[in-house]
């Protein structure tokens, strides 16, 4: 329990579906930042409005490989993270800009605000970008990020995760989220992970170990598909229920 009355992890609530509880009390920074008033429904159909298109110059050739951005190799467990970006009908989204950022293998971000007393790695910046191919595939080579402490509550630790930012075709398909690793013992203590109240939806944030993509003598692979919202017309009843 935190010093206020909010438990850090609330019981599961499948009625949230694939939505996140934006005012989740266990994540204390939501208190002054989550909007208090109900969202206003737009009369026009925003879902058909295209989003930004990014030119080839947005991504450099080695941006997908976070282990080759410096003179030397970074320390840690090298991994492949790959998957597909799909719309909710299962169709691949090609040419989607996927951006990632993460802590190094010691659990430290290369960011001035991060003061976790774990070493920075001069050979690891922890950021990557790529475009999906014609089948919606993305692929990064990186290191398994470390868990790290944060000040949300006593002895609070974030499960290892990689931040993802994705632009779909439609403006409404924008997604920023976090990918986790299977079987992390910190899952049940983490309010950010548990702010997705439906356990089935929460499982969608967890990658799978993938032996088929694992490269012998070189790197384990984790597979994680990303499903963006509707890019055509109309909203699902679930979206309306939590509007």
């Amino acid at each position: 329990m935190t010093s206020d009355e909010s438990p850090i992890v609330l019981p599961d609530d499948p009625s949230f579906g694939d939505d996140v509880q934006v005012d989740y009390p266990g994540y204390r920074s939501t208190r002054l930042r989550a909007p208090k008033r109900p969202l206003v429904t737009l009369p026009e159909e925003l879902h058909s409005v295209d989003g930004p298109v990014f030119g080839d110059e947005t991504v450099s050739e080695l941006d997908y490989d976070l282990t080759r951005q410096h003179d030397g190799e970074p320390l840690g467990e090298r991994i492949v993270v790959a998957g597909r970006v799909l719309d909710d009908s299962g169709k691949p989204i090609r040419n989607a800009l996927v951006e990632v950022w993460q802590a190094n293998s010691a659990g430290r971000y290369k960011h001035q605000v991060d003061q976790h007393p774990a070493p920075l790695d001069p050979n690891f910046s922890g950021a990557g970008r790529c475009f999906t191919d014609d089948d919606g595939n993305y692929r990064f080579i990186t290191l398994k990020p470390g868990a790290y402490p944060w000040g949300n509550h006593e002895n609070a630790w974030r499960p290892a995760h990689i931040h993802f930012s994705v632009f779909g075709r439609a403006f409404a398909q924008r997604l920023v989220t976090q990918m986790y690793f299977p079987g992390d013992p910190l899952f049940r203590f983490d309010p950010i992970f548990n702010s997705v109240r439906d356990p089935k939806a929460r499982a969608l944030l967890v990658s799978e170990f993938d032996l088929a993509t694992t490269q012998p003598e070189w790197a384990l692979a984790f597979r994680w598909n990303i499903v963006l919202g509707h890019g055509g017309s109309g909203t699902t009843p679930l979206e309306e229920g939590h509007a």
Binding site: V20, W101, S165
Partner: protein, 162 residues
């Protein structure tokens, strides 16, 4: 078939290492004759600046996009051009707000202060109560257009469902 969507998670406090590696806050170049500076402050429920937020601005009519992190004073800035008015709608920028503590990005709109007639007949703006309309229209300030975003409180910015 409808696949469940991947849920949203917060952008967190360290997004800048991944998302602000280069300057991307110019929807049009500074030397564009139509360029306008768009500035603003992102504020929390106690009126304090949110120093680890990120704003994305999308001019759907002109096909121009940009993003800006916020500084320690919660300030963001863009260089934009006023989009053309489309189908009876007033010119606007679509704005996404991201921040630590915000588990899902929020959608709002910025309308332009020098378009009183178009704003008055805009279907979305005119459907809102007067106080909410005022919150979505930027203000002129020293040659720039100022659009503050308040996450909570009496003058909370209007956020829209996606």
């Amino acid at each position: 078939m409808s696949l469940p969507k991947t849920p949203s998670q917060t952008v967190g406090p360290y997004y800048a290492i991944g998302l602000c590696r280069r300057v991307e806050n110019e929807l049009v170049p500074l030397n564009d004759p139509a360029a306008i500076r768009v500035i603003g402050q992102l504020l929390d429920g106690e009126g304090r600046p949110i120093g680890d937020g990120m704003i994305e601005a999308w001019d759907a009519a002109g096909g121009r996009w940009g993003r800006s992190g916020t500084d320690a004073d919660g300030r963001f800035s863009f260089v934009a051009a006023k989009p053309p008015a489309l189908q009876g709608a007033a010119p606007r920028l679509d704005i996404y707000v991201f921040a630590r503590g915000l588990l899902k990005h929020q959608l709002t709109r910025m309308y332009f202060p020098d378009e009183p007639e178009a704003n008055a007949s805009d279907p979305v703006l005119s459907s809102l109560p007067e106080a909410d309309r005022a919150v979505l229209v930027a203000e002129q300030e020293d040659g720039a257009v100022r659009f503050d975003i308040r996450m909570q409180g009496e003058r909370q910015t209007v956020f829209f469902a996606l």
